[in-house]
């Protein structure tokens, strides 16, 4: 099963390199997001672009990874619609191999997106104020969160009728999660009802963990980096406990 999953993961990666739009998703898109937020809004929000890149870059990485992790459902749905899965199912491979292959391939996509964003951030003035292993921990943490979140997308991908519907539903989930957090502005500037949502939004904790691990300080007063990381690990456990069984159940029903 491991060999089959790796062969199918290679398929995801090959497709990414052969298809400009999929490659743009993990290379050009995070750069454009960074440019837009840092250079256009940076001055207005933080007074200077160099100050703002330090604040926004961890959040931009999280946002990029959230969007990337939700494409798995769109891709799986397309494979089913186009009959590619029927071909796989007529082969003597494990039923779960196409699913785990897609997840493994996505981890490679995430790594590329993270690397591109960090390198571009460094070029435009992002300073890593923490030891290297904090950076490594940040990357591992965001990938862990992405792999926990992707089961939501797998579930939607198995239940929705068309890949367009999967895309629409996924966006509905991603937008309040990413923008309703401390990605782009400190939570203290928000109206109080929204602050309530931001405080319980798991993505806020992911962003604050990233911010803490990459810059050494979080934007939330009175909370430690370790505390934030524990929150993230807890949300990963909840996501996996709820959505992994549901997603694999829906997958087995289809496959």
């Amino acid at each position: 099963m491991i060999r089959d999953s790796l062969i199918l993961a290679k398929r995801t990666i090959t497709k990414m390199f052969r298809n400009p739009e999929q490659f743009i998703d993990v290379t050009v898109q995070p750069i454009i997001m960074t440019v837009i937020f840092v250079f256009i809004f940076g001055g207005a929000i933080a007074g200077s672009t160099t100050k703002y890149v330090e604040f926004a870059l961890p959040g931009i990485i999280v946002q990029t990874i959230m969007f990337t992790s939700l494409t798995i459902g769109v891709n799986l749905n397309t494979d089913i619609q186009k009959g590619v899965f029927d071909r796989f199912r007529s082969l003597p491979i494990a039923r779960s191999a196409p699913l785990f292959g897609a997840v493994l391939g996505d981890i490679v996509r995430h790594s590329i997106a993270i690397t591109v964003t960090l390198v571009f951030g460094a070029i435009i003035g992002f300073e890593f104020n923490t030891p290297w292993w904090h950076v490594a921990l940040a990357i591992a943490l965001i990938i862990l969160f992405a792999v926990s979140l992707c089961w939501v997308s797998v579930l939607i991908g198995m239940l929705a009728r068309s890949s367009g519907a999967v895309q629409g539903l996924s966006f509905l989930i991603v937008f309040p999660l990413t923008f309703g957090s401390s990605t782009f502005v400190a939570a203290s500037t928000l109206p109080s009802w929204l602050q309530g949502w931001v405080a319980i939004n798991p993505v806020t904790h992911v962003i604050e963990s990233m911010r803490g691990l990459l810059t050494g300080t979080t934007a939330v007063a009175g909370d430690t980096i370790a505390g934030q990381i524990l929150w993230v690990l807890a949300s990963c456990v909840v996501l996996i406990a709820v959505f992994f069984p549901l997603a694999t159940w829906a997958y087995r029903r289809k496959i």
């Binding site: 090959t14 590619v84 007529s90 082969l91 003597p92």
Partner: protein
């Protein structure tokens, strides 16, 4: 002879729709079975069950000696499947598709590459091997799909409507490839909506409708059952129509029909009818704009078969 495919009493429902209502199918080793039926007859459902993609609600089936519900993995090692819709990955090149499937069939990368190149050459796709398959034409895609199902040298190949949507020249290409397969000893089960296709390729034909088998025979037997071929004559001069009708009445097995104002068609039992009609038309200097002998269409097959079934029911009713 042993059966490569044997199914008994297969049923399958989707919600309230009964897609299969007790189907029996048998294909002897090295032979070709044509499963003929209109859209929605249950052909694809039957193939999906035999290829282990679906579980039947009841009934049993063995393929290459293995039970499809209890040993699906063993069945999958022995079969190749070409779906109604080409199921290659559009975002990979032809060779990437074939190599990937080879690897999934436990070939080493090197072996998979050799086998892929072999099949690309055989299916005349070597020049297009490194292009994304979404740029392929319909015929090329169908050929790649067929190649993909042959990588593991399967004993049994399922072809689900292999030529639907192809123009006649491309269709002939696919037919030739199926004949090569059969020559190599492969057992083939193909579904089709065209009697002509089943007649050209199959040793035996099973006709299904509404999830049931309504006839099973050799192509010759089936053609005899449905009245063989149809002779059509289109008049150039409308005043000749009465004479043409008379002529066709003389050679036909039923009264001629008039599907359009200048056209008469009649079922005939053998080809000599054509010679008779041509000779008479020539002798009497009657010009015609069209003269053809063709196999009955699926509609006509069903008309004859279901009509006959009703007759059988009637006579049984009388006997009782």
């Amino acid at each position: 002879m042993t059966a490569a495919v044997e199914a008994h009493g297969l049923t399958k429902s989707f919600g309230k729709t009964r897609a299969l209502d007790g189907i029996d199918l048998v294909v002897e080793e090295g032979r070709v079975l044509g499963v003929l039926g209109p859209n929605g007859a249950g052909k694809t459902t039957a193939v999906r069950i035999l290829a282990t993609l679906l579980r039947p609600d009841s009934g049993t089936a063995t393929v290459a000696g293995f039970d499809v519900t209890h040993h699906p993995k063993d069945v999958r090692r022995k079969i190749g499947l070409t779906g109604q819709y080409a199921s290659v990955d559009e975002d990979l090149t032809g060779i990437q598709n074939l190599v990937m499937i080879g690897q999934l069939l436990d070939l080493s990368t090197a072996q998979a590459r050799v086998r892929a190149n072999e099949l690309l050459a055989e299916f005349d796709l070597t020049d297009a091997a490194r292009r994304l398959t979404k740029t392929y034409s319909g015929g090329m895609r169908r050929r790649l799909d067929l190649a993909a199902s042959l990588i593991g040298r399967p004993d049994v190949v399922f072809l689900d409507e292999p030529t639907t949507g192809l123009d006649p020249a491309k269709r002939d290409d696919v037919w030739d490839m199926v004949r090569v397969l059969v020559k190599q000893g492969t057992t083939v089960l193909l579904t089709t909506q065209y009697l002509e296709e089943a007649d050209a390729l199959a040793n035996e034909i099973t006709v299904i409708d509404h999830g049931r088998v309504i006839a099973h025979d050799t192509p010759q037997g089936l053609k005899r059952l449905v009245g063989g071929q149809t002779l059509e004559v289109r008049a150039s001069v409308l005043s000749d129509l009465p004479r043409i009708e008379e002529l066709l009445t003389a050679v036909g097995t039923r009264a001629p029909e008039q599907p359009s104002p200048d056209l008469f068609s009649v079922p005939v039992s053998d080809e000599s009818a054509l010679t008779t009609v041509v000779a008479t038309l020539a002798a009497e200097h009657i010009p015609v704009s069209e003269l053809s002998l063709r196999l009955p269409s699926l509609d006509e097959v069903f008309y004859s078969l279901t009509g006959q079934r009703e007759q059988v029911a009637e006579s049984e009713g009388k006997a009782a």
